[in-house]
Each structure stands twice: as C-alpha cells, then as structure tokens.
C-alpha cells in the first residue's frame, strides 16, 4: 500500500498543534499509520474518515484494551506519547472530556519534564565544574534550560485551566 513519511518536529508544549496537524492530514486524505522519532507515517484514507488523538501516558495494556473497546485504534508510541485514530463514522473521539482530566494530563507531562530536566541540569553542573568535559556539561545545561522552559509553558496551560476550574467543570 502507498505510504508516505513526513519528518517534523514539535516542541512538547505544542502537542495540541501536533494533533491539529495530524487531523488536517486526515482531512486531506492521509491518516496516521505509524510514528517514529520525529517521523510520522501516513496511509491514504477518505478525507475526514478518521479523527486522530494523542496523549502522554505510561505504558498500560489495560488502557489500550479499554481504548480498543471504545472503537479507537492504537497507532503507535513515540517516547511517552501514544497515538490513536478512530473512524469518524463511529462517533466523536476525544481522550479527555473534563477540565480535571486535562489538568491531570498536564501534570503527567510536567512530571516527565521535571525528571528529565533535573537530571540534565545536575549532570550539566557536575560536568561544567570538571574541566575536561566542561563543553559536554554545557550541552546538558542547555537541554536542562530548554526543559525548564517547556515546563513553564505546560504550567501556563495548567494555570489557565485551573482558573476556569474555579468557576466551572
């Protein structure tokens, strides 16, 4: 079958943009069929035949079985991000339907960024004090700073939802 691959980079705080792009692809007749590091594989579909969703979640067979039961198809995993598609004819497809679960999802992303970010900053600081590997250390510091920035972006999204949550569900 005809298959095409697009290489594309999204920052972690752009996951909604990434999802919108995947759905625009499905609208134009190419549905996601597999993922790799910064790689998206597509196969032809009827325009608008599928809805595509993604989320960050630790591996959980029970969850994948649960999603299949609701008519969603597991497409693949890139790091901790999992991708699903569902035929539009089988009804609307969302992963989250209330503010609380969207906040929980952002917390999950935040936890991952914190863990990786702290590790990078620690390694970076350690290495930059150690002359022979000082340049390596600066790479870690850079990565650590970027992750801290990403954490800030995710936190901003969360605060916006939390303000809404004060007034409504």
């Amino acid at each position: 079958m005809e298959r095409k691959t697009i290489r594309k980079w999204f920052w972690v705080w752009e996951f909604e943009k990434e999802e919108a792009w995947l759905n625009a692809m499905a609208q134009s007749g190419w549905v996601l069929d597999g993922v790799g590091f910064c790689k998206y594989h597509f196969i032809p579909c009827e325009p608008g035949e599928y809805t595509v969703r993604l989320e960050m979640r630790d591996h959980d067979e029970g969850y994948l079985a649960f999603m299949r039961e609701t008519g969603a198809e597991y497409v693949g995993r890139m790091a901790k991000w999992i991708f699903f598609r569902k035929k539009a004819a089988e009804g609307p497809f969302d992963i989250f339907s209330d503010i609380d679960s969207r906040i929980a999802h952002l917390n999950q992303i935040g936890k991952m960024l914190t863990a990786v970010g702290v590790a990078n900053l620690a390694i970076g600081l350690g290495n930059s004090l150690n002359a022979p590997v000082a340049s390596l250390g600066s790479i870690n510091l850079l990565v650590g700073s970027l992750l801290t920035y990403a954490l800030g972006r995710i936190h901003g999204k969360k605060e916006k939802l939390e303000r809404d949550r004060m007034l409504m569900e």
Binding site: E55, R57, Y63, A65, F66, M67, E69, T70, A72, P92, D94, I95, F96, S97, D98, D100, S101, A104, H105, E169
Partner: protein, 104 residues
C-alpha cells in the same frame, strides 16, 4: 475526603449508571443516553475516574468472567450513600434556583 462538597458531573453520572453493573464502554453509552447526548465521557477521562473511584471504594470491579477481558464495575454501599448525599444537595440547588428565578 470525608466531607464531600460536590461531585463533578462525570463522577455523578458514572456512579449513577453503576447502580447496574457495567463495563467501561457500557458506562459511556448509558451516560450519553441518560443525558440525551449532552454528556459524552471521553475514554481517558473515564479510565482515570474509574481508577480513582475504585481507590476510594465507591465502586468495585466485579470478578471477571473467564473469556472476557472487559472489566465490569458496580456501585458499593459507600458509593450509594455518596450518591444519595449528592442528590439531596442537587435537589436544594434546584429548589433555590426555582424559588428565585421561578419555573421557566
């Protein structure tokens, strides 16, 4: 949480439809049906809620049937009393709303 303030709409409906044992997809369908299509529980939200409600002891998974991978859940005694408290809270909300705005 011992002093229950208010349940979310998702929690309320999940508990309500588990008055009869149901599996996950059955919960989604029944909630949508009961609310005339207004409340659609998304799978990720429901999965998270089921886990939390089991932890609280408000619902329990039923011993699974051998050939079925679909887990069924039902309301517990505690879950039922939580639901009854919520119902009287909601009744008061509605009564107060009607008394001020009038029955439209």
């Amino acid at each position: 949480m011992n002093e229950i303030t208010a349940l979310t709409e998702s929690t309320y409906y999940i508990l309500l439809v588990l008055h009869t044992p149901r599996h996950g997809y059955g919960i989604m369908q029944e909630v949508e049906h009961l609310s005339a299509g207004r409340v659609r529980l998304a799978a990720g939200t429901l999965y998270g809620a089921l886990t939390s409600l089991c932890d609280k002891g408000w619902i329990v998974p039923l011993p699974s049937v051998e050939d079925s991978r679909r887990k069924e859940y039902r309301l517990t005694e505690i879950g039922l009393s939580v639901l009854q408290n919520e119902l009287s809270r909601l009744r008061q909300l509605v009564e107060n709303g009607i008394s001020i705005l009038g029955e439209e």
